[in-house]
Amino acid sequence: MPIGFQILDRALRVIRFLLPILGLLLVWELAVRTGLAQAGILPAPSTILARAVELLGLTGERAVLFGHILASLRRALIAFALAVAVGVPLGFLLGLSEEAQLWVSPILSLMLPLPAVAWTPILLVLFGPGDLTIVIVCFLGAVFPVLYSTMQGVRACGRQPVWVVRSMGGSGLDVLRRVLIPSSLPALITGFKLGMAHSWRTLVAAEMLAALTSGLGYMIFAARSYMDVSTMFVGVVCLAAIGMLIEHVLFGTLEHATIHRWYARDAQTGGRQ
């Protein structure tokens, strides 16, 4: 197809995708303007946008929103980094030793149906509200996906490549570098994606429960307290938008650069884990 048609085709597809979403927003806006929905409960999208612009500092008030977003992101990222630092080595260890895994598995299974936020009350008693509590909770939320994915990646690696490297005189370190890490990389990256997504999702709730004076969760609940609904919605939209960004864009590109380049078949990573 000539390049002109390709662009047009692409543009049409984007429009067709956005149309229902825009339609929904329009219905929402009309519902508020006609009084069907109360503005004190559900502000119009235009009001939310205006408030977001205010909070970003684009019309005079200080850029408060950035501060809150940064605080939230910082906590989620630190928690994610910790989860990787702990989860990957532990995952390798457990993945390599079948026995160890079978013994630890019951304990891990008991933790699975528990949301990470459930640990917040204990941490609140131990450390009080604040960054430490939130980071620990998000760490707990992120570490399990990372751990499980790493374990699966290690186990999926066949024995033969290991034998080949060893037969060529490779040491344990060589096995690690040349066999285990490359072969478990797709699973690791999946684990990272899940871990970061879980870290952010856990942050949403943890901040609402344990934040002191900064963060999107704090902003949402403080605004709710003072009945500043438009600010509250700005916070919710930011939480949602950043969550979407993390899950779609951030790791989509990373996958493209690594997995899709090295592997002929598509790595079906499956839905929203």
């Binding site: 409960i41 408060v64 605004a223 307290s225 600010t231």
Partner: protein
């Protein structure tokens, strides 16, 4: 001829006078800044307090930590992370009964029944509290507000069984009234003023005069014993802030709104101004206020929550307050 208590008071006064002389000498602004860790809540009088450096005329550097709940603040207070906090009603009674050696009552943070109201929808035809009989009433049980409301009902010859009491959080009460989930709600300032300002709610009854329901300023006992001058300076700073609020509620409202806006939340300054006209921030502790803690304690003792009714008077440090008043007079001419 007084009893031992009077004698003690006189000795304290003399020592205080001596201290005051030193303070006044140093408090002219040349004294080195002492620091004090203070816990405050997300309420308008505290917002005004942290918005300006009220300790500066006394050479006091105040490090304020804002807590979103009174419970968190008191936990930090007990853990020693802050030396000053505030509390009232049930929480204060529990503290007095279980950890009496941990604090003194040095002043009053908020008081006045006018800061509690019963609200209904602006367009409702409910004209008096009797009209609400049998209807749904949203409250926050366990708070000083609810306690005062119960006393009010008693005075009116009613009881809480006359209504369908629905327990909620303060954040949800306004929306619940608006959405007709409840017919009325018992709320406290500034939420009443903000809800009124938002337009959908009107004040049915003010609980002014029912009682004072004080929220007291608490200071760590160990810290106060070691650094009484610092506490006096703190009290002086908060007295100044209180006088500012009383003298010009409009300015105070604006200041508080600006402070809150720093966190990204927009609160109408006019609402805060109204709230300030209804809250009493007089820092003095009166005997009547202290006496109000007794029925609360008695109820808790009957429920088995505390072993004995504490002697609340023994916690009060009037001497520090009096010195603070003197200090404010000498510092500001």
């Amino acid at each position: 001829m007084g009893n031992a208590k009077d004698g003690l008071r006189r000795i304290r006064r003399m020592l205080g006078g001596l201290m005051l002389a030193c303070l006044a000498a140093g408090g002219a602004g040349t004294a080195q800044a002492e620091t004090l860790e203070v816990g405050v809540q997300q309420v308008p009088p505290d917002e005004v307090y942290i918005a300006r450096d009220w300790g500066q005329p006394y050479g006091l550097e105040v490090k304020a930590t804002q807590f979103s709940s009174g419970g968190d603040m008191l936990k930090a207070f007990l853990a020693g992370r802050v030396a000053v906090a505030n509390g009232g009603s049930g929480r204060l009674v529990t503290l007095a009964a279980q950890q009496p050696e941990s604090f003194y009552i040095i002043g009053t943070q908020q008081s006045g029944g006018d800061r509690y109201s019963v609200v209904v929808r602006a367009d409702s035809d409910i004209g008096s509290i009797q009209d609400l009989k049998g209807r749904k009433l949203g409250v926050v049980t366990g708070t000083g507000t609810y306690g005062t409301f119960l006393v009010y009902l008693q005075q009116q010859g009613m009881s809480e069984t006359d209504f369908q009491i629905v327990n909620m959080k303060i954040d949800d009460l306004r929306a619940a009234v608006e959405q007709k989930l409840v017919d009325g709600a018992v709320m406290w300032e500034p939420f009443v003023a903000i809800a009124e300002e938002m337009g959908n709610v009107k004040r049915l009854v003010s609980l002014k005069g029912v009682n004072e329901s004080p929220n007291f300023l608490l200071a760590s006992r160990s810290f106060t014993d070691a650094n009484p001058e610092t506490i006096v300076k703190f009290l002086a700073s908060t007295i100044d802030a209180a006088r500012f609020i009383e003298a010009d509620p409009a300015e105070a409202g604006k200041l508080a709104a600006e402070q809150i806006a720093k966190g990204g939340i927009a609160v109408p300054a006019a609402a805060l101004e109204t709230a300030f006209t209804r809250i009493s921030v007089d820092r003095a502790v009166t005997d009547e206020m202290v006496a109000e803690l007794v029925p609360v304690a008695e109820a808790m003792k009957a429920a088995g929550k505390i072993p004995e009714v504490p002697d609340f008077g023994s916690f009060v440090r009037q001497d520090l307050y009096e010195q603070a008043v003197e200090l404010t007079r000498s510092a500001t001419h």
